[in-house]
């Protein structure tokens, strides 16, 4: 395919419209406040998008497979808090990789429980994960107590200060923390799974038509369990990254962010009914949500109006594509020939 044809194809994709929206939003904010269009804002936004970003791509995987997981913040906070408390108790001074792996392992285990219930009983993921999110979070915090961890083990604390690079200007100084690699890693892994593995094509297949996937010999149960286990895995990672970033661990954080994360994936063109969604789209959706959450204030929109504006963006963004899809679906294919025109070809 030539570059021109590829470009033309891209302009027809849903990603293109999200990109347009992101550019437009940036331009408008930038016009109102030139300070927005600096590298510092970019780096700050990048930093702010690490934790939600890791979760967006995991959730996207679930939505493509046809299920909406809402337990990921609960899993994230459960894994990170349990890990933080455990390593605080151990007075850990060893490598930072161990607590990270621990949190990821807890997340994966909890996600697997979701997957088993959803796969074996064929229950709607939204409702199951609504239940398990309360179950996991409530029981875990109850059993270890809600006392927050205010001081991380020294190795974790040091890790939280590690930066990939820093740019210092006259008045500003912003850095990309090493935890950014985790976001990048998640994106790469999800991209690879979705596009280059049988498993990934199976995720699209079961989201497109579950029964057909079964008939085609896809291990639907296995794929379903993998998807939710992966969401658990990524949540565990997002949780511990959040703890590292905030240098403390509280048992109530992240909860409540689930709907915005889902909105980011959906604004990026992930089809809420399953079967469709791309990594690029979700990156743009994430950008859209992150910018509107963090930068509207730079545009002179008061902090109190931000929620309203974010809501408008969600409704307008999902509304446009939904309306077009509805129009397309309701339109009957043309039958009559135009007067004087030739015979309409076969199909």
């Amino acid at each position: 395919m030539s570059i021109g044809a590829g470009l033309r194809k891209f302009t027809k994709s849903s990603e293109f419209y999200v990109l347009l929206a992101v550019v437009l939003l940036c331009a408008v904010i930038g016009m109102r406040n030139p300070a927005f269009l600096t590298v510092f804002t970019g780096l700050d936004l990048l930093r702010a998008s690490i934790v939600p970003g890791i979760m967006v791509f995991a959730v996207m995987l679930g939505i493509i497979a046809g299920g909406i997981d809402v337990s990921f913040p609960a899993i994230a906070v459960s894994s990170m808090f349990l890990t933080a408390r455990l390593f605080e108790y151990l007075e850990w001074t060893g490598p930072v990789a161990v607590p990270i792996l621990m949190s990821v392992a807890i997340g994966t285990a909890l996600g697997t429980v979701n997957g088993l219930i959803i796969a074996f009983f064929k229950l709607p993921a939204f409702i199951v994960t609504l239940g398990t999110s309360h179950l996991f979070h409530g029981m875990l915090v109850w059993s270890i107590g809600a006392r927050p961890v205010n001081r991380l083990p020294p190795t974790m604390d040091a890790f939280s200060r590690a930066e990939i690079f820093r740019i210092t200007g006259e008045t500003h100084s912003s850095a990309v923390p090493v935890t950014f690699w985790f976001l990048l890693g998640t994106i790469v892994v999800v991209y690879f799974i979705l596009n280059y593995t049988m498993l990934g094509r199976g995720i699209y297949a079961i989201g497109g038509d579950r029964v057909s996937a079964e008939r085609a010999g896809f291990n639907v149960r296995g794929i379903t369990i993998f998807v939710y286990a992966f969401i658990g895995f990524a949540s565990g990672l997002a949780g511990i990254v959040h703890t590292i970033q905030s240098r403390a661990s509280f048992p109530v954080e992240l909860i409540g962010s689930e709907l915005l994360i889902i909105a980011a994936a959906v604004l990026g063109g992930t089809h809420i009914g399953g079967g469709k969604g791309t990594v690029l789209g979700s990156i743009l959706g994430l950008a859209l949500i992150t910018i509107s959450r963090n930068s509207l204030i730079m545009m002179g929109i008061p902090a109190t109006a931000q929620m309203f504006v974010v809501g408008l963006i969600i409704v307008a963004g999902t509304g446009m594509s939904a309306y077009q899809a509805m129009r397309r679906e309701n339109k009957l294919p043309r039958i009559l020939d135009t007067a004087g025109g030739g015979v309409v070809a076969g199909k």
Partner: protein
């Protein structure tokens, strides 16, 4: 004995006992509700079975109960309503401003009535917006109401600037604090009346039956002569109205209105609806089921309170209850399905 206690617990409500027995899901729920009541009474001897406890329970559950029925209506259509809490808070905030402004002119009672009317109108308008986005724009309910949740709460945050609105008429506060005949809390009475009305509207009116039918197949509903777009809008308006009632009771109990009151209610309302046997795929679910579910939650909640149980334990218990209920229903429905198929097969054999 068990049947009697169910009857006692529900005798206050307009309710036909035979329809309860006809519906296995409801029987199951009644059993779970009774069991949690008995369990909590046994764990808290002396304090649980007191008028005071019953009173305090009856002050607490109506607002979430109403929001759960609001969620149920959306679920009947195969959708969901994530914006109930947003509607509740926004309508009570607008009502609060109206009441504060009107009280000096028309007095406390006048302002209260005006405030209630305002809240209900706001609820209807919010519901209509949800319905229109779903029916006419074609946004899936989960996304539409997620967006409007942000919008409604966003408006509430913007017009209040964040903090709670105080200075409501003392007459308005009676809605959430008064008792009738010295014992029956006002919220309970409101709840019972609204539940009765909604049972009639949803389960005995033509409109309600159309909602249930449409919930399983919107296209077939259109082909049946049901004006699906308007039915969706109307049903969401009914949902919004309930949310507004919830908001009125809530703000009256707090004698103030705020954009983030009841922050856990959204999830709780969905949980109660599902616990109450409402099918998230649409078309099935009874108001009485939701009522029993909210009572179950309240019985457990009060019991936990008395046991000084951790708030997290309570949250965990709700989750466990929901998951358990899903599994119980799963196996129950499987058995019922098998029976149906067998009955069908037997019919065929006798016909042949």
């Amino acid at each position: 004995m068990q049947g009697n206690s169910i009857k006692n617990a529900l005798s206050k409500l307009d309710f036909d006992f035979r329809t309860l027995l006809a519906d296995t899901n409801l029987v199951r729920l009644a059993f779970i509700m009774t069991a949690s009541f008995v369990l909590m009474a046994a764990l808290n001897p002396g304090v649980y079975l007191t008028v005071r406890n019953f009173q305090s329970m009856a002050f607490q559950f109506p607002e979430i109960g109403l929001m759960a029925i609001a969620v149920m209506i959306a679920m009947l259509m195969g959708g969901i309503n994530l914006s109930v809490l947003g509607i509740a808070n926004l309508s009570s905030i607008v009502a609060a401003f109206v009441m504060i402004a009107a009280e000096p002119q028309i007095g406390g009672w006048g302002a209260t009535f005006l405030g209630i009317a305002t809240a209900l109108v706001v609820g209807l308008v919010c519901g209509a917006l949800n319905g229109a986005l779903i029916a006419f724009v074609g946004i899936p309910a989960i996304l539409a109401t997620l967006g409007t949740m942000e919008i409604f709460t966003g408006i509430a945050v913007y017009i209040t600037g964040g903090p709670a609105v105080f200075g409501l008429p003392s007459e308005f506060a009676l809605i959430g604090s008064a008792t009738v005949l010295g014992v029956i809390p006002m919220p309970l009475i409101i709840f019972v009346i609204i539940v009765a009305v909604y049972i009639v509207v949803l389960q005995y009116k033509k409109f309600g039956l159309e909602v249930y039918l449409m919930g399983t197949n919107r296209k077939a509903a259109q082909f049946t002569g049901i004006l699906t777009e308007f039915t969706i809008v109307k049903a969401h308006m009914l949902s919004g109205l309930l949310a507004a009632f919830g908001g009125i009771i809530m703000s009256s109990r707090f004698v103030s209105a705020k954009s983030d009151y009841g922050s856990s209610y959204t999830i709780l309302a969905i949980l109660v609806a599902v616990l109450g046997g409402v099918n998230p795929f649409g078309g099935f679910g009874k108001v009485m089921g939701v009522v029993m579910a909210i009572l179950t939650i309240q019985f457990l909640s009060s019991g936990f309170n008395m046991l000084r149980a951790d708030a997290y334990l309570r949250t965990g218990a709700w989750g466990a209850l929901l998951v358990a209920m899903l599994l119980i229903n799963y196996f129950g429905n499987k058995r019922a399905e098998k029976k149906q198929i067998e009955a069908m097969n037997n019919t065929k054999i006798t016909e042949a």
